[in-house]
């Protein structure tokens, strides 16, 4: 059985972690009541911990137990300032790592965070380093959420620097999710974010379940690590569940790789480096030859594709995990972030100059009473 650590850092990470806990109670509205009489049902031994400097963000969580909420005392958040966040982490590092250590040893850790916020974007790189230092054999995968482009220049700036730091740390890989790509799912912003959180939560739990299941065709943690180490070590996930009208497994695999079903917009055929296709469903729906053909077709473009098949009653579900050989969208984010930073710098210079000009009027004067 896999020992899984799931860390939600910052507000975004906390909410995704809460969504994971809710899914562990069965999800949907029933989870609101189920948490009073059921234990969360994870496919493996899963420990969750929500970390935040803002206590109000922790209070908003509904399905994460109080002992799994760690408040890092730093007034009320870090105000989207990564430098303050880094300092707060360093000041509380022992306490944070002590809380994690209490939960035992782990085979894999998912660190879920927004790249644009204060706490999450500043804590996560440092936290990954500490995890790697404390747990020598642990596999650390970051689940990083990119901001919507219109969220503001500071968030874009944070995302840019955070992503750079995440690339520098010794983690096995990054699974990207892009709010810009996914916020179209919901009508309003709040429901869109909730849907994004649920979507990420379901895919992560599906992944953990698959890695820890007896498979018809085996994929394991090693395969997953190999996939995540491919390309830029930046990947994403796609998911598709066939409906009764179309139970074709090849269509399900193909659909799982379509941009609309990916957490991060990518062209699998052109951009993927390595991939893992995990298929779950009733035996009668899972035609191995058909699956093999589809995987082989994908291999032609993706380089190497691991496939796992889990027999479980229900319509076919396909989770695709792949790493990217190139990430053109990231470049545009960085360009936009740089422009924003440049604009910010120019504005600040102009303002400073205006202020200096204003002060010049009283340069040779003294106060008279």
């Amino acid at each position: 059985m896999l020992n899984v650590l799931m860390l939600g850092v910052g507000q975004c990470g906390n909410r995704i972690l809460d969504a994971i806990n809710r899914e562990a109670f069965g999800g949907g509205g029933a989870a609101n009541l189920a948490k009073y009489y059921l234990r969360p049902k994870f496919p493996s031994r899963v420990e969750t911990l929500a970390i935040n400097t803002a206590i109000n963000d922790l209070k908003e969580l509904r399905f994460t137990t109080a002992k799994d909420r760690l408040h890092v005392p730093n007034l009320h958040g870090v105000g989207a300032n990564r430098n303050v966040g880094k300092q707060a982490f360093m000041d509380n590092r022992d306490m944070i790592m002590g809380e994690i250590e209490k939960r035992g040893d782990f085979d894999i850790a998912f660190v879920i965070t927004s790249t644009s916020g204060g706490t999450g974007s500043s804590f996560t790189p440092l936290l990954i380093n500490e995890l790697k230092r404390q747990y020598r054999d642990i596999t650390v995968v970051t689940v990083a959420i990119l901001p919507a482009r219109e969220e503001g220049s500071i968030y874009l700036q944070n995302a840019a620097f955070c992503m750079r730091e995440l690339m520098e740390v010794d983690a096995e890989g990054i699974i990207l999710a892009d709010n810009q790509n996914m916020k179209r799912f919901g009508g309003d912003i709040a429901s869109a974010y909730n849907k994004i959180n649920d979507m990420i939560a379901k895919r992560l739990l599906f992944l953990i379940e698959s890695l820890d299941s007896e498979m018809l065709s085996v994929t394991d943690l090693g395969d997953f690590k190999t996939v995540m180490n491919g390309g830029l070590r930046i990947g994403t996930m796609g998911f598709y569940q066939a409906d009764s009208k179309n139970l074709s497994i090849s269509d399900a695999i193909e659909n799982s790789l379509k941009p609309a079903n990916l957490l991060y917009p990518a062209n699998v055929a052109d951009d993927s480096a390595r991939a893992m296709i995990i298929i779950q469903g009733s035996r009668e729906h899972l035609d191995v030859d058909e699956i093999t053909k589809e995987v082989e077709r994908l291999t032609a473009s993706a380089g190497h594709v691991f496939k796992g098949i889990v027999i479980k009653k229900g319509n076919p579900k396909v989770l695709s995990v792949f790493t990217l050989a190139s990430a053109p969208e990231l470049e545009s984010i960085y360009a936009q972030a740089a422009r924003g930073m440049q604009d910010e710098k120019e504005k600040r210079c102009r303002a400073r100059k205006q202020l200096d000009d204003a002060f010049a009027h009283i340069e040779d004067l003294e106060e008279i009473y």
Binding site: Y37, L58, L61, F63, T64, T65, K67, R69
Partner: protein, 394 residues
Amino acid sequence: MRRLICLPCLVCLLFSILLVQAAHAKEDTDDSDEVAFKDFNLNIGDRIDLGDYQMELIEIQSVRDGLVVMRTSKVGGPLDEQRALLLDSPNTFDGGAENGGITITVADIFDEQSAKVRIEYQKSLGTARKHASERPAAALDKPELSVQKSFERNQMSVGDEVKVTLTVKNTGTGQALGIKAEDAPPLPEFSYVAGYPPKIKETLDSGQSDSAVYVMSAVKDGSIRVPAIIVSYTDAKKNAKSNSSEPFNILISPKSKADLAVKLAGLAPIALDGESMLNISISNSGTASATRIEADGTVMPSEGLQVTGLEKSFFEIMPGEEANYSVRLLGQKPGNYTIRLIVNYEGGDGSVIREGTAVVVVLEREYKYQYLLLIVPIAIVIAWMYRRYREYKY
């Protein structure tokens, strides 16, 4: 001179006196044959003296017929006659007053002892004088009946029997004969049960009394004026007399009835195989006594509840009183049981039936701490949920 004047006056006065006396002497001489009369009220034994004549009232023979017996005699003469004189009829003796004798007329008869008598005579016989008899008055032979009619009570109810007593007493001095009581007509508010019409002795001596009793039953309510009863009789001389009682009022109330109410109390649920007592109260809220009270009852369903002592009888329950008794209940089977008590009694208007019912619950066997089977799980669930709530409360 003065003497000369007084002397002729004195002479004239003397002369006048002489003239008056002379005139008077002449008048006496002329009236010696004139008839005079004088009335006397005589009691028996009284006597009138007139010259040589003596007249004595012997008896009042009949007041009704106007007959008086007088004895007339003449001292030194042959007249000595006792004659019955008829009222208002002149009776002459020695030729009557016109002829130098006397005429006696009974002017009035007062009673059995006295009468008014007129004596006519010539003045020459002298002046008639009355000599009261020195004999004691003879005892009166006069019956006097007093009549009294009385009811046993003046207030009664329809259906009640009442005893009427008629009492006749001779309070007079003579014997009452031919006594007849007329107690008619019969009162419509009563039916006459026995003894009517009342019968009284036909003869009652002085001081004697007689009574008659009859029984009536009130049949109609209301206030009734009981009329007088008339008793007629005669005395020894056949003088008819009568007397009557005083009328009076009586009140007849509507018919009295007994009204029994049956109450069954003390109906707490009985545990299975447990005992309890059922208190039964039979109270009479009517105006008459209930008699021959028989109480009996049934239990539905008949099995599962053992009832002991339900049957009971009482001789009488007076108005405003109640009779109580208890019934022992033994619960043998859980369920609801209905005890129906039927009370039969005589209530003054025939036989009456009253009923009372009670529901007795025999409980299911209660297992101790059975309620914990419900409370404990609920408490555990609540505690569990609270604990979970605390786990998620941050």
